[in-house]
């Protein structure tokens, strides 16, 4: 089955490439074409990504796997508009991200993408509620509405009883759930998670992955980077990356 998928893939890609070249907007949620990311290390050039192309449709649940240093985080950061490619085109929701300026990228990060980090990255001095409110603040949402939305998002990750806690008063799993609530509060097009369970124990990891599964079943598009095969196995499609290239792209469900 996976062979079939693989076999058909280049044709799909070629078709979508043609659309792109003909100035048609790609219909998929994410469309990456020949993406390069090159770092200058002294005189040497390090290619973290060289020529990555793929598409993601709305509602997909994708795992990105690959050995350490293969470029997974680099790719995620590009998808999440935290970073810009050295070369290539990236369409998100039909908009060409590679041509955007700083403010537009900030807007995309705020509205279109929800990012979950391995190390949570919550503001230590702020309460759970305030952490979740932050993206709404930058989205220009008034305080009453934003309070309501943040409370709702915390409820969705089962943290209604931890609203006023600060990160150091929460367990690792709870912190990650606050981070997920923060990522989801603006109702983004995609939820990106770079090794979201990397800092959690097996049991808590399972809880978080259950939450992802639920979020996916509610219609969210999810991309997860992971090292663990059983976590990757929960996704519906697996992108395997090696040395900055997509080695394998298989649908498993």
């Amino acid at each position: 089955m996976s062979d079939v998928t693989l076999a058909t893939l280049p044709i799909e890609a070629a078709l979508q490439q043609a659309q792109v070249n003909g100035q048609h907007r790609p219909t998929s949620l994410i469309s990456m074409r020949d993406i390069w990311k090159t770092y200058q290390m002294g005189t040497e050039e390090v290619h973290a990504l060289h020529g990555v192309s793929f598409d993601v449709n709305k509602g997909e649940y994708i795992a990105i796997i690959g050995p350490s240093g293969s470029g997974k985080s680099t790719l995620m950061n590009l998808i999440g508009c935290l970073d810009t490619p050295s070369k290539g085109d990236y369409w998100l929701n039909g908009k060409n991200v590679s041509e955007m300026d700083d403010d537009e990228l900030a807007r995309i990060r705020n509205q279109e993408v929800g990012f979950v980090f391995q190390t949570f990255n919550l503001l230590a001095r702020a309460t759970a509620l305030h952490n979740v409110e932050l993206p709404l603040i930058y989205g220009g949402i008034g305080s009453t509405q934003r309070h309501e939305m943040a409370t709702q998002a915390l409820k969705a990750v089962d943290l209604s009883d931890r609203v006023t806690h600060r990160p150091n008063e929460l367990s690792g799993g709870q912190r990650q759930r606050v981070a997920i609530a923060r990522a989801l509060v603006n109702h983004p097009s995609i939820l990106l998670a770079d090794e979201p369970t990397g800092a959690l124990d097996t049991h808590t990891s399972k809880e978080i992955m259950d939450l992802f599964e639920r979020l996916h079943s509610e219609g969210n598009t999810i991309i997860v980077v992971t090292h663990e095969h059983d976590i990757a196995a929960r996704a519906h499609r697996i992108l395997s990356i090696r040395d900055g290239l997509i080695e394998k792209d298989e649908k498993i469900k």
Binding site: G80, L82, R107, F115, L134, I137, Y138
Partner: protein
Amino acid sequence: MKLLRSDIYENLRMALSTLLANKLRSFLTVFGVVIGVITVMLIASIISGIDVSVKKEVESFGTRSIFISKFSPGIHVGRRSREERMRKELSYDDAIALSNLPAVELSVPFLDITNNFFGQKLLVSGGGKTTAGVALQGTLPEFERAGTQVVSEGRFFTQSEEDTKQDVCVIGSKVADDFFKFGSPVGQTIKIGSDEFRVVGTLQKREQFLISGGSDDQNNVIYLPFSVAKKLKPNADDIYILAVGRSGQMDEAKDQVRDLLRVRRQVSFAAPDNFGMETAESILDNFRSITAGLAIAMVVISSVGLMVGGIGVMNIMLVSVTERTREIGVRKAIGAKRSDIMWQFLIEAATLTGIGGVVGLSIGWLSTFLLRLLLPSYVPLWAPIGGFVASVGIGLIFGLWPAWKAARLDPIESLRYE
């Protein structure tokens, strides 16, 4: 909208917690601002105090008065120059000549006989008491029309009393209080030296203020007819003149007085005046130079303070930006624009210096109460407003570079920052 986005409340809270986390550093940072603002408050109220005094001075001096004396007006330090010491006295005839000028309404001479021939103060007694040190001035009845002294009881002496050298006098309110505490002084007798004088009138109390306080108390004065004063001390020649210009013709009056006196006192064409003229305007100018000096001192001291505070706040904010690189990365990752980060740090810097400003305002305000023991003064509204605006402004200006540094940080690099 911009400010709403950057979440002022959060920024204020963060500024306060940064402040509390680094008490010593913050104290040093805002210290300069505190000093600067205290300076503004204090000097502003000193200036206001001087302003009040000047207004009173000018009121009692009379806006149309021209005060003419042998020497230039103003505070004099040290021995006068030879030219000044050689100057000829002003005369009764000078005063009469000035009163005939078209732009001059009246002109009266004053003969000062406070000191006797031997330079001792004449003894004055009345109501059973005796003092020395009352100013004794001989003048003409027209003086009353100058309006700078108002008769409160009785009357001023008359031209016929002047012509017939009657021993009458008009007394200042302090003299009236000192000698005749009970009952009216009018009709009573005052002894000056060995001569007895009949009090025909008393004068209203003139406002006292710091600048002209002390021994030449304006109310501790007795006015006699000029001719009588001359009779009392025949060799007296210490004369000054009060001329009053016609309404709306002050400039002409000054010019005419000057020209006539130069002719009468034989000042050659290019030489400077050999007499002094003082008007309300020139008094104002004197005070203006004092207030200008104070204002410059205020600007200098407060600028230095604010600069020190500004550099301190820049330093603390640069440290804060470095310490919070990761936080900046997180904020950018969830959608903060450069301008949002910029505002965050600007507001933080302004809060820091603003707190310094408020502390300075409070201390400054308290110290103006102490000042009021020395000088009648008030705090003009511009001082606290200006002080606060300046302290917040300093935070904004010196916070600009750190804020810009923070805003420019790359999200990925800041997230990786350990």
